[in-house]
Amino acid sequence: MADRPSPAGAPPRSPLLGGTRPDVSGGMGIYLTAAAVAGLMLAAVLFFALIFSRGAAAFWPKPLEEWTLDDGTVLLVQPVEEYDTGDVRARTGNREFMPGREDHVRIPASRIVSRRVPEDAVWIERREYGPFHGYLDEVAADGYHVRLPDGAPEVLAADQVLRVEPINRFGAFGRLGLWFRNVFRFLSEEPRESNTDGGVFPALIGTSLLVLLMSILVMPFGVLAAVYLNEYAKDTWFVRLVRISVNNLAGVPSIVFGVFGLGFFVYGLGDFVDHSLLGLPSNETRFGTGGLLWASLTMALLTVPVVVVATEEGLRAVPRERREGALALGATRWEALRHVILPGAKPGILTGLILAVARAAGEVAPLMLTGVVGLAPELPVDGEFPFLHLEKKVMHLGFHIYTVGFQSPNVEAVEPLVYATAALLLLLILVLNLTAIRMRARVRRRLEGR
């Protein structure tokens, strides 16, 4: 638009329309900060995609391919990976029949003379030696009469065979059904062959019990501390001390809690319970070694700050008028707390609980010192009195990932299992955290009076 002559005394006007001075450094700045967010999001998305796709793929029934190699060897395999070097890796099954007792092969693709997908090939899940790939002739009294990929007959003992799936006959829906069956078996079965096969049921139970017990222990304590900070305390040096303690407790590395748990709970309290309360002979331990109770107590200590912070936020969200109203009606502080404030702070408390649970479900380091093991012979709950055995060692999903992924002799063979466990754990924690974040957002909205 046309500029009018400027009045006397006023500075010369610059035109309002843009484009006169490109703000290059500003643009670069904004885009650089945007790059940080984009980079982080990209990494996160790729991370989730990797874990979940591989976790899901672990249950996907791949068809059995018959490979004939240049030396005449015949294999029935599920291909796993192709490498830049031209090698292919595939799962052969039939561990006890393979040279070197390996159920994976990695060979140059050029060695494969012919490939086909035989309709009648079966995949047999077995109690030992991993899966069997071959052909089923008949089920007789003395077991399953099968043929190896090269046609050699074998008999599998009936009690070794868990299920027979003719996966090459399945259509898409059949495969999907099998996928769901596999997932279900993974969740509901015990691990076999020192964790390299089978499911994670005991780890699920162990994690749940641990988290449950921890919640029972941490909630009263955490809520009390938060109530103290928010409702009872004035701004004294002691309150500041409590606050600093909460903050620092949140910052203490989890392994230090584990060290404390081992030293104090297991070796200290455990010994005391065993020898002073239960009167066990000095060479016998029951509570004097890691167990469910000590692991839960350690986790409870670790999650106190989580509960305190979330509960405090919930308490702050209760409007001032409401608590003053209650007090004005002649309620004691306790009554106001019980009937007005705590119910109002429920979302915050619940948020704290969920966050604590998520934290405990994902934490491993302190647990491996205080009572979580890679393979527990029995569940801590059973039909025997007192039904819940607090002194027993338990399995845990997070620790399961560590032991299976790092203490197995054949890492390649268990990789799908580890991805599946990781996906399960991640899914669990994401759902918990998402719930907590949404609830917290609601609390915060109320806090801001929206």
Binding site: R13, L16, G18, T20
Partner: protein, 284 residues
């Protein structure tokens, strides 16, 4: 979020003022033929689904002080923030109508908001000096554009502080934190800071509401001083203040401009009943 700019002819709205120079009694200092520097037409404004302004038409005369009065929540601050597009920084707002500065619609998509805000200064309700030295506060605007040398900048800072009647109190501690000033001094510093951009229009959003009477008096003196050199639009809920310092008064009620006229007219012979009720203190 893209504002729709609708050029529309002034219509016979409730709050339209008749800018009829023949009818006006001009104050001594102001030139009689004061042309409007800001021209607002048919301005509607929404916060989300809530409409806050309804078809406001207003001309702001150049070099004069325009006071916006009205009960709280009537939209006068919102209106003020429309003039330099400060409302852009709030999520979920919508605007229609036109706001012209010197004949250029400021809601034109091609308009550089940064440039607009340089030419339209703003002072907020609460004094908000930056946590830096007094000098740096005043020099903030000019430094953004890196146009001035060290000497020129020193001169400008002094000039602006003098204009804001703050020079004598701060000349010895220009390098000290602005947060050490009193509330009134802080607000005057904010005015000085705005002046350093040499704006054409200065928007004051209840500049005295957070201040004590002494400080308020000083700010009012300052506004009186600045009149003529700058076009000033100020929001106030204090009618005496409006009567004391303004040339033109606009009365807002429930998002509508009820009446706008020479201040003495509004305060002595309001043409609307709502205005009279408000001024005589019957509500508000």
């Amino acid at each position: 979020m893209t504002p729709t700019a609708v050029m529309s002819e002034p219509t016979s709205h409730l709050g339209r003022i008749a800018v009829d120079s023949a009818n006006r009694r001009a104050p001594v200092e102001v030139a009689d033929e004061a042309e409007p520097i800001v021209r607002v037409r048919n301005l509607d404004f929404w916060y989300g689904d809530t409409q806050a302004l309804f078809g406001v038409d207003l001309d702001v005369p150049k070099g004069q002080v325009t006071a916006l009065i009205g009960p709280s929540g009537c939209g006068k601050s919102t209106f003020l923030r429309c003039l330099d597009r400060m409302n852009d920084t709030i999520d979920g707002v919508r605007i229609s109508g036109t706001v012209e500065l010197d004949g250029q619609d400021v809601y034109d998509p091609r308009v550089d908001v940064v440039e607009l805000r340089r030419r339209v200064g703003m002072v907020f309700q609460r004094p908000n000096p930056f946590p830096m030295s007094i000098y740096d506060n005043v020099a903030f605007g000019p430094r953004l554009r890196k146009e001035l040398g060290r000497k020129e900048l020193d001169d400008l800072v002094e000039k602006c502080l003098r204009s804001a009647a703050l020079w004598d109190e701060t000349r010895d501690r220009l390098d000290q934190s602005a947060l050490g000033l009193s509330g009134g001094q802080q607000q005057r510093l904010c005015i000085a800071r705005a002046l350093a951009n040499q704006p054409e229009v200065l928007l004051l959003d209840e500049p005295c509401s957070a201040l004590d009477p002494n400080a308020t008096a000083k700010i009012e003196d300052l506004i009186f001083e600045l009149r003529g050199r700058y076009t000033i639009v100020m929001v106030t809920h204090n009618m005496q203040q409006a009567a004391r310092v303004s040339d033109v008064t606009a009365f807002f009620l429930k998002g509508r401009l009820v009446e706008a006229d020479r201040t003495e007219v509004v305060f002595t012979r309001p043409s609307k009943e709502e205005t009279e009720n408000y001024i005589t203190g019957r509500f508000g």
